[in-house]
C-alpha cells in the first residue's frame, strides 16, 4: 500500500469535517436540519462521552469507537476528527506559505510531561467531580465551538450585514440583516484568548498545544503507547536526512535517536510522504515489545512524587470549588430581578445542566430567538460561559426545540414538542409597582399579548383599565412577558428560574358557543 495515500486521505477527510463543524457554528439562517448536527458531532470525544454518561445509549458510543481506533492506529481523533486540531493544521499550512524559506521548520522537542499530565489530572478530576467549568474550558471541541460562535460568526454576520445594506439600496430583500445580541465581554475575552494562543502556537510550533495543554490529546496519547500499529523508523535504511523530523507538526521524531515518540504523534502522516528512502514504517509493534526496548516513553509512565502531590492539591482545590457551586444570589436588593437563573428547556435542572454542558455554544449559535446567551455569573463560577436564558435578549419560542436538537452532550435533552410545551423552566412574577397601568394609569398589556399559555392575562382594573394577572401553574417560563415589558430600568414582570424544572398545567380550554348572526350587524 502506498503510505502517502494516508496523508491525502487525512487532508481530504479533515477538511471536510472542519468545514462541516464550522458551518454548524456560524450558520445564522437556521436552515441546517437536525440530522446533520447528529452526524457531524457523533465523533466528538468529550460530547460523546457526556452523552454516554447521561443516557448510556448508542448515540453516545462515538468516544468508544475513537478509543478502539486509538488502540489500533494511534491518535486518529487528533488529526481526522478534532476541529481544533484541524484548525491548527490549517494555520500551520498557511504559516508555511508565508515563511517560505523555513518550509521545513519543525525539530524534535522534549515533551513537557509535567505540564501535560497536570492538565490531564486537573481534567480527569474535574470530570469526576462534575466540575464542568474546567472540562468546558479545556475540551478542544468546545474551545473551537466558542471561538466559532463568539468570533467567527459575528464577523460573518457583520460581513453579511454589509452586503445586505448594499443590496438594500436596490430593493433586494432575498438576503437579510441579522441583529446580533452582544455576549458578555469576559466570555468573548476567553474565546479570544484561546484563539490567539492557538493561532500563535500553531503558527510557530505546529501541534505544541495538543501535546502540552490539551487533556484529550494527552489522554489519547497515553493510550497510543499500547496501539497495535505504530510509526517507527527503519534504522538500517534511514540516512538521517531529517526530512521527516522537519515536517513533524508534533515535533515527536528524533533522528539522532532514530525514535518516534508515538505518544505525541498525532497521526498526520506527513512523515510517511516525505521520506525518500521509505524508511518510515507504519506497522504492527507489540506493546510489550516497545516497553522492553526501553522506549523513551518508559520514564513518563508513573507520575513522580511531585506530580502526585500536584494532583492531590488539585483535588483539594476542586473540592473547594464544588462546595461553592450554588446559584449565586444577587446581593443588591432590587425588587424585580430574578435571583435564580433559567436553564434551557430540557436541561431538567440547573445542576444537571451544569454537569453536562461543556459551553461549546452550539445551542447559542442555533437558537433562533437569541434567548440563549453565554452566562457570566448567572450560575456562579461552575457555569461560566454556559448557555443561560436571557429574557432581555429574546424569549423562548413556544414551538421550538432547536437547542435540544443540536446539543451534543445531552445537557439539553430532546423532548417531543408537546412535552416541551409543558416544561416549566421558571415561574412568572408580577411587580405591580413597576407596571405602566399602575404608575401611568394607561393601558399596556404587552406581557399578556406575548404569553403563549395565558398564564399572564389582562383583568379589569380601576378607571376602566386592564392590568396583568398571573397564574404560575400554567406558566412555562418562556420569558416572552419579560422581553415585551416596556418599563425601564427594571421590568414589571419577569421569570424566576426553577432550579429544578417542573411540569406546567395545561391551559384550560372550553368550547365556545357558536352563534353567528344571519345578517350584517350594521
Amino acid at each position: 500500500m502506498n503510505l502517502s495515500l494516508l496523508k491525502r486521505t487525512r487532508v481530504v477527510f479533515s477538511s471536510f469535517l472542519l468545514i462541516s463543524v464550522l458551518i454548524l457554528f456560524v450558520d445564522f439562517t437556521n436552515i441546517i436540519p437536525e440530522r446533520y448536527y447528529d452526524a457531524v458531532l457523533f465523533f466528538q470525544f468529550i460530547p460523546s462521552l457526556l452523552t454516554f454518561k447521561n443516557f448510556i445509549a448508542l448515540s453516545g458510543i462515538g468516544f468508544i469507537i475513537i478509543i478502539l481506533l486509538n488502540l489500533l492506529f494511534g491518535r486518529v481523533y487528533c488529526s481526522f476528527l478534532c476541529p481544533l486540531g484541524i484548525f491548527m493544521d490549517v494555520i500551520s499550512y498557511f504559516s508555511k506559505k508565508i515563511k517560505k524559506i523555513k518550509r521545513y521548520k519543525y525539530l524534535y522537542q522534549k515533551p513537557f510531561n509535567w505540564i501535560r499530565y497536570s492538565f490531564l489530572g486537573i481534567f480527569i478530576m474535574a470530570f469526576l467531580l462534575e466540575l464542568t467549568f474546567i472540562v468546558s474550558l479545556l475540551d478542544p471541541y468546545s474551545i473551537f465551538g466558542r471561538v466559532s460562535s463568539g468570533v467567527f460568526r459575528p464577523i460573518l454576520i457583520k460581513g453579511n450585514n454589509f452586503i445586505v445594506s448594499v443590496f438594500q439600496n436596490f430593493g433586494a430583500y432575498s438576503i437579510f440583516h441579522v441583529d446580533l445580541k452582544p455576549a458578555p465581554m469576559l466570555v468573548l475575552f476567553v474565546s479570544l484568548f484561546f484563539l490567539i494562543l492557538i493561532v500563535t502556537l500553531a503558527f510557530t510550533k505546529g501541534r505544541l498545544y495538543c501535546n502540552t495543554v490539551c487533556p484529550v490529546g494527552t489522554f489519547l496519547g497515553f493510550l497510543s503507547r499500547i496501539s497495535v500499529f505504530k510509526i517507527s523508523i527503519k534504522k538500517d535504511t534511514c540516512t538521517s536526512c531529517k526530512l521527516c523530523e522537519r515536517v513533524c507538526k508534533a515535533s515527536c521524531i528524533s533522528i539522532p535517536d532514530q525514535k518516534v515518540d508515538f505518544d505525541r504523534c498525532i497521526n498526520c502522516y506527513n512523515c510517511l510522504t516525505v521520506c525518500p528512502e521509505a524508511s518510515i514504517e507504519y506497522k504492527y509493534i507489540s506493546a510489550m515489545n516497545s516497553f522492553k526496548k526501553g522506549n523513551s516513553l518508559k520514564n513518563d509512565v508513573n507520575p513522580n512524587r511531585r506530580q502526585f502531590l500536584g494532583i492531590l492539591a488539585l483535588i483539594f482545590i476542586s473540592k473547594k470549588l464544588r462546595s461553592q457551586r450554588k446559584v449565586v444570589q444577587n446581593t443588591a436588593i432590587i425588587p424585580a430581578e430574578r435571583t435564580v437563573p433559567i436553564s434551557p428547556p430540557g436541561s431538567l435542572s440547573i445542576d444537571d445542566f451544569n454537569d453536562s454542558c461543556t459551553a461549546c455554544h452550539l445551542c447559542i449559535s442555533a437558537c433562533p430567538t437569541q434567548v440563549l446567551q453565554p452566562a457570566f455569573t448567572d450560575y456562579g463560577l461552575i457555569g461560566f460561559m454556559k448557555a443561560v436564558m436571557d429574557n432581555h435578549a429574546g424569549f423562548c419560542n413556544y414551538e421550538c426545540v432547536k437547542c435540544a436538537e443540536v446539543c451534543p452532550t445531552g445537557a439539553i435533552q430532546l423532548f417531543d414538542l408537546e412535552d416541551k410545551k409543558r416544561i416549566q423552566m421558571g415561574k412568572v412574577k408580577f411587580e405591580k409597582g413597576n407596571c405602566i397601568v399602575e404608575t401611568e394609569g394607561t393601558d399596556c398589556g404587552a406581557c399578556a399579548e406575548h404569553c403563549p399559555t395565558k398564564a399572564v392575562r389582562m383583568v379589569p382594573y380601576k378607571n376602566n383599565l386592564v392590568i396583568p394577572e398571573v397564574d404560575d401553574k400554567i406558566c412555562v417560563g418562556c420569558g416572552a412577558c419579560e422581553y415585551a415589558c416596556p418599563t425601564t430600568p427594571y421590568r414589571a414582570i419577569y421569570v424566576q428560574g426553577n432550579a429544578v424544572h417542573l411540569t406546567a398545567d395545561k391551559p384550560k380550554q372550553t368550547e365556545q358557543q357558536k352563534e353567528i348572526e344571519e345578517d350584517f350587524p350594521f
Binding site: Y173, T442, E449, H450, Q512, F522
Partner: protein
C-alpha cells in the same frame, strides 16, 4: 382625452377638493365616497371563502385598478405576528394574502412586497403562518422586518403622545400601501384590526406601550393612510388574543371588510365581533381626531352575501 375635457375635469376636481378642505373634518359631514370617486365607503362581504369574498368586494369597488396602477410598487402588510398555523387565526389568512398579491399583479403592479415586524421569531412566523408560501406562489416578494436597519425615522406631526416613529422603508418607498389585518381579540386594546395592525410597520413598540397605547395607536393612524384596508374576519379569534392558546379560541365567521377608511373598517369589524366601536378606546379617539368615520350610519356601505 381632449384638452377641453382635461381642463373641465381638472377644474371640477380642484373645486371639489377645495370645498372639501374648506369644510375641514369632511369625513363627518359627507360620506368619503363623494370624494374618493368610489361607489362605496366600505364594502362588507359575508359567507364566502376569503379569496372569493375579496374578488366580490373589489368588484363592488370598481376593481383593483382603482387602487393599484400599472408599474407601481405595492407593499402589503398582513398580521404575521405569531409563530402559529393558519387555523389558529392569529395571523391573516394566507389564502387572502395570496389573492391580494394576485390582484395587484393583475393591475400591472411592478413589484408586490409583503412584510411584518413580527412578535415571535420572524422566519418561523413567515413560514408557519403560510404567508411566505402564499406570497411566493402569487409571485410576490417576502421582505424582512426584524432588523432596525430597515426602519427610518419619521415625524408624526398630528400625533398627541406619539411625535415620531421609525417606519419600515417599504412603507416610505412604495407607491401603494395595502393594510391587511386579521380581526382578533386583544388583551389590552380589546380588538386588533386595521389601526392596531400598523404597529407592525414601526420599530419601537415599547414606546407605545409606555405612553398610552390607545392614544399612540390613534396618533400613528394620522401618519399615513393606507390606500386600502382589507380586514380578514373569516376565522376570528374571539378570546385570548392576540396570540391565542389553541384552536378553541377561534370561531369561523366568514366576513371580509374592505375600506379606505381605517376608522370605518375598525368600527364595522368591531360590530361583527359583537362590540360597539366606542367601547374600543382607540377607535373612539381616532374618530374624535377626525381620522375617519366611526358612525356607520353616515357611510355608504356595500353589503354582499356570497
Amino acid at each position: 382625452m381632449k384638452r377641453r375635457d382635461f381642463i373641465r375635469k381638472s377644474l371640477s376636481a380642484g373645486l371639489i377638493t377645495g370645498t372639501a378642505l374648506s369644510f375641514g373634518g369632511y369625513g363627518k359631514i359627507f360620506a368619503n365616497s363623494v370624494f374618493s370617486g368610489l361607489p362605496y365607503d366600505l364594502v362588507a362581504v359575508k359567507d364566502g371563502e376569503p379569496d372569493k369574498m375579496l374578488d366580490k368586494a373589489l368588484q363592488a369597488l370598481g376593481g383593483i385598478q382603482n387602487f393599484v396602477k400599472k408599474g407601481q410598487t405595492v407593499v402589503v402588510k398582513p398580521n404575521i405576528g405569531w409563530d402559529v398555523t393558519p387555523e389558529r387565526a392569529a395571523n391573516t389568512n394566507p389564502l387572502l394574502i395570496k389573492r391580494i398579491v394576485e390582484h395587484c399583479y393583475t393591475a400591472g403592479a411592478k413589484e408586490v412586497y409583503v412584510f411584518d415586524n413580527t412578535c415571535d421569531n420572524w422566519s418561523s412566523c413567515y413560514k408557519n403562518s403560510g404567508i411566505e408560501r402564499a406570497t411566493k406562489d402569487a409571485g410576490g416578494k417576502i421582505a424582512p422586518g426584524h432588523s432596525e436597519s430597515y426602519y427610518q425615522q419619521v415625524s408624526v406631526s398630528k400625533g398627541k403622545n406619539l411625535k415620531d416613529a421609525k417606519v419600515h422603508e417599504l412603507i416610505l418607498n412604495s407607491d401603494v400601501f395595502i393594510n391587511a389585518p386579521v380581526l382578533k381579540s386583544h388583551g389590552s386594546a380589546k380588538l386588533t384590526i386595521t389601526m392596531k395592525n400598523l404597529m407592525g410597520i414601526v420599530w419601537d413598540r415599547r414606546y407605545w406601550h409606555r405612553n398610552d397605547l390607545n392614544q399612540c395607536i390613534a396618533d400613528f393612524s394620522t401618519y399615513r393612510k393606507p390606500d386600502l384596508n382589507i380586514v380578514d374576519a373569516y376565522n376570528v379569534m374571539t378570546r385570548n388574543g392576540p396570540r391565542g392558546v389553541s384552536k378553541a379560541d377561534v370561531l369561523k365567521m366568514q366576513y371580509l371588510i374592505v375600506s379606505t377608511d381605517m376608522v370605518a373598517a375598525d368600527a364595522a369589524a368591531a360590530k361583527i365581533f359583537g362590540m360597539e366601536p366606542e367601547d374600543v378606546k382607540y377607535i373612539q379617539i381616532a374618530n374624535e381626531m377626525g381620522i375617519g368615520q366611526m358612525d356607520l350610519s353616515k357611510l355608504n356601505i356595500g353589503r354582499i352575501k356570497v
